[in-house]
């Protein structure tokens, strides 16, 4: 799309000094977004980043666009109102795992089910960073942190499973070590007509360093990241020697040579029923097992803000534009003579 590119990354960088810890994965996500937006050919004035609270939520300050750093957990709700108020806006929501899945969990699932034009980038570092290292809703059971000195007891959420369960139309996953993959995934989210959730494995090098390392280190990727491609058999490994088999027991990894290529599931991101995508999201329940990334689901559904506008247009077509004087008389009137 370089033909429509009239801006460069620099145009999208604000004058504010970026203040994440040196080495934080947030930097590379910021760069991926700043590189992508010129490619999309969108306008700065029509782009808004809304965030909640947390390290990731500082993101809007670093974008030379409209932006709102709001309150903890509420960004999806605020962004929904914003998207409804102006159909021309590209509304992005930025938040971490605590922000989106804990305090803001309710807003996240409802933004998903409504399929409203907000693109949610969920920076998952499996820890609370800004408050200095407590376990989060994606931390593994037994995680030792300041608030769980004897190990956390809470079972973690898988954000992709949660989003699929919440009837999301678009759900994808990427990671902070691969800018190209991030850009391609964010582009797909942007192209989806409705809400989109992208989980990004993000390294918090201060409080949870290397938590995703088994998956995202260059040397591990071929055997540990399962790239989902629509219409293709789900295979991975340096020589595509592994594949994913899906049956009544769910999804599991198999050697292609052993089960045969025909037994390997073909990925269908457009499937009406999210059950298979859900099984894929349950394939790895720890960050130490082969894990699918890419687009899990990209199903067409009516977009909420357009549907809202359509109801207004239909009402106007049927009843005519509003007449206040007539409305005030709609309950019947009587006249007192002078």
């Amino acid at each position: 799309m370089t033909d429509v590119q009239t801006t460069t990354r620099k145009d999208w960088m604000s004058d504010q000094e970026v203040r994440w810890c040196p080495g934080c994965g947030d930097y590379s996500i910021l760069a991926a977004v700043q590189f992508l937006l010129p490619e999309l050919g969108v306008k700065r004035e029509n782009t808004v980043f809304v965030s909640g609270i947390g390290c990731a939520a500082r993101f809007p300050y670093y974008m030379n666009t409209y932006g709102m750093h709001s309150i903890h957990g509420r960004a999806p709700a605020i962004a929904t109102g914003l998207a409804l108020s102006n159909p021309d806006l590209d509304v992005w929501v930025i938040g971490g795992d605590g922000d989106m899945l804990s305090i803001g969990g309710n807003h996240l699932i409802h933004a998903m089910r409504r399929n409203v034009r907000v693109k949610i980038l969920l920076f998952n570092n499996m820890i609370y960073g800004l408050t200095k290292g407590q376990y989060s809703p994606t931390s593994e059971v037994g995680k030792v942190t300041k608030s769980s000195p004897f190990g956390s007891l809470d079972r973690p959420f898988d954000p992709v499973s949660l989003a699929l369960g919440a009837e999301a139309g678009f759900v994808a996953r990427t990671h902070d070590m691969d800018r190209k993959h991030m850009m391609a995934t964010f582009r797909r989210a942007w192209e989806h007509d409705g809400s989109a959730l992208v989980e990004i494995f993000q390294n918090c090098n201060v409080f949870n360093d290397g938590a995703w390392g088994d998956l995202t280190k260059k040397a591990n990727r071929a055997n540990m990241l399962i790239e989902l491609k629509h219409g293709e058999p789900i295979r991975f490994g340096a020589n595509d020697e592994f594949g994913v088999v899906i049956d009544c027991d769910g999804a599991r990894v198999a050697e292609v040579a052993e089960v045969g290529l025909d037994a390997i599931a073909v990925h269908d991101e457009k499937a009406e029923d999210p059950s298979v995508a859900f099984m894929l999201s349950r394939l790895a329940l720890t960050p130490h097992q082969p894990t699918p990334i890419g687009v899990f689901r990209a199903a067409d559904r009516p977009e909420y803000s357009q549907a809202t506008n359509q109801q207004l247009l239909d009402a106007q077509a049927k009843l005519g534009g509003g007449d206040l004087a007539a409305l005030l008389r709609s309950g019947g009137t009587w006249t007192v003579e002078g």
Partner: protein
């Protein structure tokens, strides 16, 4: 006089009457009361209504908890309250009689559906003996009418099943009362046809029951007289009967046009505010976007997002919902965007009394956010005033780029009064300019946008909405640097910004009407009110004046900031009495602000003040 003669009933003239329709929640008392009110409105009476319903949707039939009540006061003079004690009680069952009898004036009229007074119902109501027989009703004028049976018989010929026929007994009751108070029958018959259009049998049954009730009054031997209430001397013009929630909704509809902005409502169902959501959801042809959010927080958040996006945004709720919205309102204080929060107050704390009014959220509206986060507060004083209060709240929100709290309560929400319709062309223009251009220079002389550079007059910051080229900027809940809007932890800047936000809200005092003193301005006693107590205070002050007591009274529609002359007004009076449906919240505010000895008259039982209660307090203050 023989049985065959048609009795000529004498017509007595009354200047007012208060009627209470009471029955089981399934008996259709709200519909009956509402219909009687409309028929009275057509006759030019002034009127005021007060519905009371149980909190449970299906409270057990026949029990006191399930009693649903509609009180209407009609008069030939200007009234402002639904009346204190009813002169007439229509009791459809024993529970209705038991719960309402204590309110009826001595010697009042009681019309009873005797068919409902069977052993089972008597027991459910907690009667040990039948009140129709045991002397309980001595001292009242009791009219026992077998309404269920008469309704059944009047609809028999239509082929209505007896069980279905019973459902029309409220129309029989309506017929009796309509006859008793010489209401015209045609409007009600027309209304029955409209309301039940398409259900021919229901129309026929209701009409038959209504007429049978009316004729029963005319021909039965039991009524001595019927009554007439002449039309009130109301200012000429076109009237409608409106309740507070509807008026408030229509006010919100109006603001879209007056501000030339799309209206957005973010809301979550809650009693007694839901009717605003319902009414606005029907008004899509006015371009009104309603959004039923997943919770109260999201409702307020979405409204804030829409306000940031350039809509005129509202969120509506009641007390418990307001508690949830407070953090978002705090963000709106920091962002300085226009947003109207409507709180239809109800009994609390916690879930409290969802269907009963209280006005105890004033201090929450004033202070219920973390840190120093002042917001303007507007309060409606009567059902129809809710319309104008909504416009005023939006005007302030837009002009000063601030969240504004609009307070109503469960009494205003559901009670109704005749409203002399305003000329819609005379409503104020509340539109404001949005920012379109950079408003400053950087060090190199390049134009820049300074999002917190304020209007020197109003201290409002520019409203620069996404989609405007060249004004891209970031806002948020972290403290802002004046005027760049960049995040700032500088101590002096923080103190300065707190002062600026406070000064902006305080400065609105220059832009709101001064408080007016009614009654005798030279009196020693001032009754100071706010919100829905207006009607009762006004009536009490008139009654006090009639009895030779000197009383001044004033009513606040703006509670933050207070009108600029309030301190001076309060200083003129030796005694200040503040009636409130709370434990003295306004009295505390004026004591703190003006160091005056304001005395609280508190009422906290979920029932609005009667004028009699306020009159008694006035008399006590004056030693009369």
């Amino acid at each position: 006089m023989t049985q065959t003669e048609t009795r000529q009933h004498p017509v007595e003239e009354l200047d007012e009457v208060v009627i209470r329709f009471a029955g089981d929640s399934g008996d259709g008392m709200q519909l009956t009361g509402d219909r009687f009110t409309s028929a009275s409105a057509v006759m030019g009476n002034d009127l005021s209504t007060l519905p009371e319903f149980p909190a449970e949707i299906r409270a057990p039939a026949g029990t006191i908890a399930g009693v649903s009540v509609f009180q209407v006061r009609i008069s030939d003079f200007d009234i402002s309250t639904p009346g204190d004690a009813p002169d007439v009680l229509v009791a459809m069952n024993p529970a209705a009689l038991k719960s309402q009898l204590p309110r009826v004036v001595q010697g009042g009229i009681i019309i009873i559906n005797t068919d409902a007074f069977n052993d089972r119902n008597l027991e459910k109501a907690g009667y040990e003996s039948n009140p129709l027989e045991d002397g309980t009703l001595e001292g009242y004028r009791v009219y026992p009418v077998p309404m269920t049976d008469l309704t059944r018989r009047s609809t028999e010929h239509l082929g209505v099943k007896p069980r279905d026929a019973e459902r029309s007994k409220n129309f029989f009751a309506l017929g009796v009362v309509s006859w008793m108070f010489t209401r015209p029958v045609e409007p009600t018959i027309d209304w029955i046809h409209q309301k039940f259009a398409g259900k021919e049998l229901v129309i026929a049954a209701n009409e038959a029951a209504f007429k049978a009730g009316y004729n029963y009054g005319e021909t039965a031997e039991i009524f001595e007289a019927h009554y007439e209430i002449k039309s009130a001397h109301m200012p000429p013009g076109e009237y409608t009967n409106v309740n507070g929630n509807t008026a408030l909704s229509w006010g919100i509809v109006a603001t879209g046009g007056l501000a030339k902005l799309p209206v957005f409502l973010g809301s979550y169902p809650i009693t007694p505010a839901s009717d605003i959501l319902h009414e606005l959801s029907r008004r899509k042809n006015f371009g009104i976007r309603t959004f039923q959010a997943e919770d109260e927080i999201a409702a307020c958040g979405a409204a804030l997002g829409a306000a940031y996006g350039g809509n005129l945004a509202y969120t509506t709720t009641s007390g418990p919902g307001l508690a949830l919205k407070t953090e978002t309102i705090g963000l709106a204080v920091s962002l300085e965007v226009p947003l109207v929060i409507v709180d239809v107050q109800r009994g609390g704390p916690s879930t409290g009394l969802p269907t009963k009014p209280e006005a105890a959220d004033l201090l929450m509206a004033m202070y219920g956010r973390n840190s120093e986060s002042p917001i303007p507060i507007v309060a409606a004083k009567s059902p129809s005033d809710c319309f104008f209060a909504a416009i005023e709240a939006a005007r302030i929100a837009l002009k000063y780029r601030t969240p504004v709290m609009l307070l109503s309560d469960g009494f205003l929400a559901n009670s109704s009064e005749p409203w002399l319709l305003p000329d819609v062309d005379s409503l104020p223009d509340i539109s404001v300019e949005k920012a379109t251009q950079p408003n400053g220079m950087d060090e190199d002389g390049n134009p820049v946008f300074l999002p917190y550079l304020r209007d020197p007059e109003t201290l409002a910051r520019p409203w620069a909405v996404p989609g405007t080229p060249g004004l891209e900027h970031r806002v948020g809940g972290l403290e802002k640097e004046d005027p760049t809007g960049n995040v700032s932890y500088d101590p002096a800047n923080h103190a300065h910004m707190i002062e600026l936000r406070a000064a902006k809200v305080a400065g609105i005092a220059k832009d709101i009407p001064e408080v007016e003193v009614h009654g005798n301005p030279d009196a020693d006693l001032l009754v100071l009110g706010w919100g829905s107590t207006w009607g009762a205070i006004d009536a009490a002050a008139h009654r006090a004046a009639d009895r030779g007591m000197d009383v001044a009274y004033a009513h606040l529609t703006h509670l933050n900031p207070f009108p600029s002359n309030l301190g001076e007004v309060l200083s003129r009076y030796d005694r200040i009495l503040v009636p409130e449906m709370n434990c003295g919240q306004l009295s505390r505010l004026v004591r703190a602000e003006y160091l005056v000895d304001a005395q609280s008259l508190s009422k906290m039982n979920g029932v609005p003040f009667t004028s009699g209660e306020i009159l008694a307090a006035i008399a006590e203050q004056l030693g009369a």
